[in-house]
Symmetry: C2
């Protein structure tokens, strides 16, 4: 049976002040009327049976998940004692789900990406399940066809064609420089790694045992405590000592039966305020406003308000204005790195509580 | 005895969203740590005896006056039932004060201008009082020596020199066009009208009787009700029917014994956000911030925050950012008229409650 696992451990502040350390971007309404987490949940809902959806998130973010996904049973929101990258998190989820359903297939999806249309996503997952049905040891990734020579993503090189629309993965590539990215784009043989994976729980556990025994040993220690009163205590002891590595690095780059399916949907990693304009259609002046906004002589400006607070803009061009109850950001658009500088300055001035 | 009367009836929104219809600029901290009203009060405090300070304001603004000037006796805050420009307001104050002190001299000052230094202001008022001591029928205005060909102010032309540093006023001039303003500036014989007046209460009442009998008749009807239970009712009946005209137009342009004393202080009418930079010294980047502000690559920008709300700016130049609990304004500087357009748009969209 298919179980969907939402990876909701992110904790960035790239959407500050709307996102905060305590309220990262997966909980924000960045690409529509629902939050990225809620959109992610609904995207796979038609694929799974009731009770087969899971979320793994940071301990302090657990209440936000419960709040935004009220239909999710409390014991299927798993709180990481501390973030340890994707390999320990996926291992833990495979352990828990395999215990309940030994033949489980996992669909692992990041909580904070925008994908459209949902039907194309569902179609790709069904294709992946067919490949796995034929070959239970397969690890499948969804690859995004690049539309620009992006230097901010890792790339997957595809090799020989397999059955069911999949390709053998022939190599994983680190974030490239501009020239290399252009070469990848021109070749047509490279994909961006979407972080969306489909595989059997038992297969990934077996692969962790082989390629990342330091993780698997600890998972093994946890196994007999699942559902027991000392579970939380044991998890808090074992999990933080697992190495903080990605599933790509821990398993996929080493395993042999790794395949990629070209994603038939548009995908956005929602990496900065710029994404909001891409995802939410601008008006005829190029403005994208959420909340109460009145603009005069305002162009190409992203405005985000909250509640009944009015944001008024006058003579602005290419700006981002974000109002929240605790802080307001007004920034010239186009330099995503600068926000990092600003946040560092806020921290330096002793104002961490605003981050 | 000198009585000071603060004219606090203004109700503009040129400092929106910090100023609002219900909270106009005289109640804001625009030129220092105290509000313009408080600064005005303290400026004349050394000139008067306790109990000789008065404020006339709009009915709905009365609580703000009481709040900001706790030392002012409640019966010396006079509420206009409705704004009728300066002639009725000054007439009313002259009536009330003359009833208490028949020999009263009035110092009439707008609540919402910035003046510095206070000692120079006090010096000018003492000079005016000397002129009045010698000639009780004199009406004295303080004139501001222009430093630019401003087209937004009325001008006073000075005539023959009188005793005590005063000049006979030879003409009042409407707001001039650019060329005329330049001519006024070059001649050295013109002043801006500061709206600061010194005269005896009985003299201004007599002048109203002569030049504005439609006001004086109604003041006369009110006289016998001062301090009586029906005062408020009578005022509410008589005051609104007085003509809404300025004291300049009603009396000063017609009376003969009008003199001007050149103000020995710097003066600013605090007409727009631009004034805030003039009045509050900018930092080395040209920024003027009030409240919690962190800026990176921010230049020539005015930031106004409230409470513990953080305003963060990034890559901004020549902007005004004003955060208040109900609304936030982000505007490119340099076009004061545009704010009016924005406020009209806000009203048009049915959002008057934010004004």
């Amino acid at each position: 049976m298919l179980h969907a696992v939402i990876m909701a451990g992110g904790s960035g502040t790239r959407f500050w002040p709307e996102s905060r350390r305590a309220f990262p971007k997966q909980f924000l309404r960045l690409a529509g009327e629902q939050t990225l987490l809620q959109q992610t949940w609904q995207r796979f809902a038609p694929l799974i049976e009731d009770g087969s959806g899971w979320v793994i998130t940071g301990e302090k973010h657990r209440p936000h998940v419960a709040d935004q996904l009220p239909e999710l049973p409390a014991d299927q929101i798993v709180a990481e004692p501390i973030g340890r990258n994707t390999a320990p998190a996926i291992g833990l989820m495979a352990l828990l789900i395999a215990e309940r359903d030994p033949g489980a297939i996992l669909l692992v999806v990041p909580a904070d990406h925008a994908i459209s249309p949902d039907a194309a996503f569902q179609c790709a997952v069904r294709d992946a399940m067919k490949v796995i049905a034929a070959d239970p040891e397969r690890f499948i990734l969804l690859g995004i066809k690049p539309d620009r020579p992006a230097t901010g993503y890792g790339y997957i090189e595809r090799g020989t064609k397999l059955d069911g629309g999949a390709f053998q993965v022939s190599a994983f590539k680190e974030k490239p420089d501009q020239a290399t990215a252009q070469k990848y784009l021109d070749s047509g043989k490279y994909y961006w790694n979407s972080g969306i994976f489909i595989w059997r729980a038992d297969a990934i556990l077996k692969a962790l045992q082989r390629y990342a025994p330091e993780i698997h040993t600890k998972l093994d220690k946890l196994r007999s405590h699942i559902g027991k009163p000392d579970w939380t205590e044991l998890l808090a002891r074992e999990f933080p000592s697992m190495p903080a590595i990605s599933i790509d690095y821990a398993v996929l780059e080493k395993a042999e039966r790794v395949a990629v399916i070209e994603a038939p949907f548009t995908w956005d990693d929602v990496g900065s305020w710029e994404a909001v304009q891409r995802l939410r259609g601008a008006d005829e002046s190029g403005n994208v406003a959420v909340g109460l906004h009145v603009g005069v002589n305002t162009k190409n400006t992203i405005v985000r308000g909250t509640g009944d607070h009015l944001v008024a803009t006058l003579g602005l061009e290419d700006c981002v204005v974000v109002h929240t109850p605790h802080a307001t950001l007004v920034a010239k658009r186009g330099d995503d790195e600068a926000l990092r500088k600003l946040l560092a300055e806020i921290e330096k001035q002793g104002l961490e509580k605003y981050l």
